[in-house]
């Protein structure tokens, strides 16, 4: 190419358009495309559900409206526990444990991060505690507490209801998780904040309470909510001790009527509980992200 030709080529405006295929995804046509793809995916899933060789039997065994309703309300005359009533057990166990876990988690995290030489044994203890209980399958904690404590014959401690042992097991495990969440939150506050607070003559305690914890809380809330979502689900483990919560009620229904629709009901009820929490957590995370982007 001669120099002249090159100069000419430069004068032709460069192509800046998207390829035609991708232009179909712009603006209102993009909306159409997203609607279509949604319908296609959902439709495909529904089709699989309806056309699979065992589809009809799955619908009968898992999604049977009669059995779903029947298991939801239960029938004491037939020894059928209500899945709906069972869920109330899950909910209040969750609420009690949530408060306990927040409290003990903070104590453990605080101990672990303390600097006083007097607290050294507790520091070692709380470090061991978080290591141990984050590592043991929660099911085993349930067995150890629920079968171990009664066997010890320690009077009051050995004579509690399944709900109490369930709460203890959940609190023991989740306090370890939550302590680590707190610790991460506290560590996420820049060291300069501590320096500034201490240079004002604030004590270690006042620095924590007035400066570090209030800032740690903001970073801590999303992971904390995540832990609470799984705490909520793990309340189902209470059935190990014979307590009749939603999943166990559904199990009783299944083994009595040979129909699994009660499990689907329990799943739906858990979703109704956890979805608002998961959505809220995502919202907080998104808000925190945009705040940080705005600050940067």
């Amino acid at each position: 190419m001669s120099l002249e030709q090159e100069a000419d080529a430069l004068q032709t405006p460069p192509r800046l358009f998207l390829p035609r295929r991708r232009q179909l995804l712009i603006g209102r046509r993009g909306l159409v495309a997203s609607t279509l793809s949604t319908l296609l995916v959902l439709g495909g899933l529904v089709a699989v559900f309806y056309l699979a060789p065992g589809g009809a039997s799955v619908r009968f065994f898992f999604f049977n409206p009669h059995h779903m309703w029947h298991s939801f309300i239960g029938d004491p005359r037939q020894g059928l526990s209500s899945v709906g009533r069972g869920l109330i057990v899950n909910i209040w166990i969750f609420l009690v444990c949530e408060v306990l876990v927040l409290f003990f988690g903070l104590i453990i995290a605080w101990t672990r991060m303390s600097q006083s030489p007097v607290l050294l044994p507790f520091r070692i203890l709380s470090t061991t505690y978080t290591d141990v209980f984050r590592g043991i399958p929660i099911l085993l904690v349930f067995f150890l507490v629920g079968d171990g404590l009664p066997a010890l014959q320690l009077g009051f401690l050995s004579n509690q209801s399944p709900a109490v042992y369930g709460c203890m097991s959940l609190t023991i495990t989740y306090s370890a998780y939550v302590a680590e969440v707190y610790r991460a939150g506290i560590n996420s506050v820049p060291h300069g904040q501590t320096l500034a607070a201490r240079s004002l003559g604030l004590t270690h305690y006042a620095t924590m309470r007035r400066v570090i914890l209030p800032q740690a809380v903001r970073t801590v809330i999303p992971p904390l909510l995540n832990d609470f979502i799984s705490l909520q689900k793990d309340t189902a483990l209470l059935s190990i001790f014979g307590a009749i919560e939603a999943v166990r009620a559904a199990g009783i229904y299944a083994s009595t009527e040979f129909n699994f629709s009660g499990y689907v009901v329990a799943a739906l009820l858990f979703l109704i509980l956890t979805i608002p929490m998961t959505r809220y957590t995502d919202h907080l995370i998104a808000r925190d992200r945009s705040l940080r982007l705005a600050a940067a």
């Binding site: 320096l195 004002l200 003559g201 800032q215």
Partner: protein, 243 residues
């Protein structure tokens, strides 16, 4: 003049790294001392040692003649008499401007709320930020934030202020307002130990200038002595480089 702060042969090590190698320095009432020296020469560490944010390995530090390294000293009480301002402001982002200023007097000194509030607002008035009292720090410019941080330290009514390169993190256009405030404080007799890279400012304001090189206090004197006729080759080289 009464001696406020006295450092005597202070040695500070981080592991094998000797950051301060026997620094001696004294600061009298109403006196402004500027610490100059390259980054990493130990200026910040010196300031932190002075209010016990860092432990000292050798030597002694005393405040109004009382040794701060005695085991019977309560570091929290010491720090209530020594204000400190940081390069990166370190305002508390979850507290409003006013609350940032109040936190020390209220929760360290346990003073009466109304009285402290009046004082804090008066201080804000003095730096022209009274109308920003309820804003959060992230709404303020860097210069404004640093002035609030200085006022936060002043609200403790400290016997002396330690200032650690307080303009280094600022946009050049905002440096002036902070330095003006410091000049103002110097004129009204505030005792200050200032680590700084602003040579003109040091020349204007300081009663004494000390040059720190790799943890050694090479030379100390009036601004004329240091800037016009430094006795040491190292000081001269440093000043040539920064001019």
């Amino acid at each position: 003049m009464e001696t406020v702060l006295e450092l005597n042969a202070v040695v500070k090590r981080f592991g094998d790294n000797e950051v301060l190698r026997g620094v001696s320095l004294s600061l009298h009432r109403h006196e402004v001392v500027c610490l100059i020296g390259a980054s990493g020469s130990g200026k910040s560490t010196l300031l932190r040692c002075a209010n016990l944010l860092e432990t000292v390995d050798e030597g002694s530090i005393s405040l109004f003649g009382q040794s701060l390294l005695s085991p019977h000293i309560d570091p929290d009480l010491v720090r209530r008499h020594i204000g400190m301002v940081f390069q990166s402001f370190n305002l508390f982002p979850h507290l409003s401007v006013l609350e940032n200023i109040l936190i020390g007097p209220l929760h360290a000194l346990k003073r009466d709320g109304d009285e402290v509030r009046e004082e804090a607002l008066a201080l804000l008035e003095r730096i022209g930020l009274r109308d920003r009292a309820d804003d959060f720090p992230d709404r303020l410019s860097g210069g404004q934030q640093q002035r609030v941080a200085i006022v936060r330290a002043l609200a403790m009514r400290p016997s002396l202020l330690l200032l650690d390169e307080v303009t280094s993190a600022l946009d050049p256009t905002l440096v002036g307002e902070v330095l003006d405030l410091l000049r103002d404080l110097a004129r009204s007799g505030t005792t200050m130990l200032i680590a700084t890279h602003e040579m003109n400012f040091a020349r204007d304001v300081a009663h004494q200038v000390a040059y720190l090189d790799h943890g050694v206090l090479v030379e100390q004197g009036t601004p004329e002595q240091i800037f016009v006729s430094p006795r040491h080759e190292a000081t001269r080289t440093f000043l040539d480089r920064v001019r």
